[in-house]
């Protein structure tokens, strides 16, 4: 039976990361930008898991565990910031949140 080499997973990870980066660059809705960041984190997770399988070590999966923890913390704080921004400015458009821009 033929199997898939690790580089295919790496390429899929690159593809998903690029889609996520494109989302952050193109979309102006803060929540959608945030979800695109989650997508990028998951693309990295996929590469970690595939390489952990290739190297037959659990360390890659431990890294994924930490990435998930950081993503959960980031989601909680980030969404709280979006809520605070919406409460003050009545918008979630990134271009209208420009108080700190010079």
């Amino acid at each position: 039976m033929t199997t898939v080499p690790a580089s295919w997973y790496a390429f899929l990870g690159v593809l998903l990361f690029t889609i996520g980066a494109l989302g952050v660059l193109v979309r102006r809705n803060l929540i959608i930008m945030f979800m695109a960041i989650e997508l990028m984190l998951n693309a990295v997770n996929l590469v970690f898991v595939a390489f952990a399988r290739q190297q037959q070590t659990m360390d890659g999966q431990v890294m994924v565990f930490f990435v998930m923890t950081v993503a959960a913390a980031e989601a909680a704080v980030g969404l709280a910031i979006i809520l605070a921004v919406f409460r003050n400015r009545e918008t979630v458009n990134a271009d209208e949140v420009n108080l700190l821009r010079w």
Binding site: V4, T18, I19, I32, M58, V62, V77, L79, A80
Partner: protein, 169 residues
């Protein structure tokens, strides 16, 4: 994993990821992301990362996405105003993405086959990816990082509560 199974998962994964980025309404975007995360969980499972696959479903597709949907509903963002792009923003973003995809894809496809290691196709021990194997690494080699993680989560909880609280003036 056979190539057929790989593409059976990879193609919908890319489609739903594009759905996250391209969907007009944030709710559709979030639901696409949920499907993409589930597909990733299946992929993790087939790569012998069983504990990670379970965590992916519980933490990501469960907790984090519910949080996202909750905030979307709370802000009542179903009808999205037309997003205004700066002149040339989409072109520049597209060019940067293509360049990134080209170089990183070339590294992934050309550079990695020479990487040493047993390979994806070789058999693993039955305990690989199990809760015990993950915990064994987590509490020995990565114990310090694990402890720091608890502090990170505490800070995140406090930060989220402080930020989302209504400011009393």
């Amino acid at each position: 994993m056979s190539p057929f199974l790989f593409f059976l998962l990879a193609v919908p994964l890319v489609v739903f990821s594009l759905g996250v980025v391209l969907a007009r309404s944030p709710v559709r975007s979030a639901l696409s992301l949920v499907v993409a995360l589930f597909l990733l969980a299946v992929m993790f499972f087939l790569l012998d990362a069983r504990m990670i696959a379970a965590l992916q479903v519980i933490v990501y597709a469960g907790a984090i996405m519910v949080l996202f949907l909750f905030v979307i509903m709370l802000l009542n963002l179903q009808q999205e105003p037309v997003e205004t792009a700066r002149p040339g923003q989409r072109t520049i973003a597209g060019v940067f993405s293509l360049v990134f995809l080209f170089f990183m894809g070339a590294i992934a496809l050309r550079g990695l086959p020479v990487m040493p290691g047993p390979g994806v196709e070789t058999a693993v021990t039955p305990s690989f990816g199990s809760v015990e194997a993950l915990a064994e690494r987590l509490f020995t080699r990565h114990a310090l990082a694990f402890e720091v993680t608890s502090v990170l989560l505490l800070v995140a909880i406090v930060g989220a509560v402080v930020l989302a609280r209504k400011i009393q003036r």
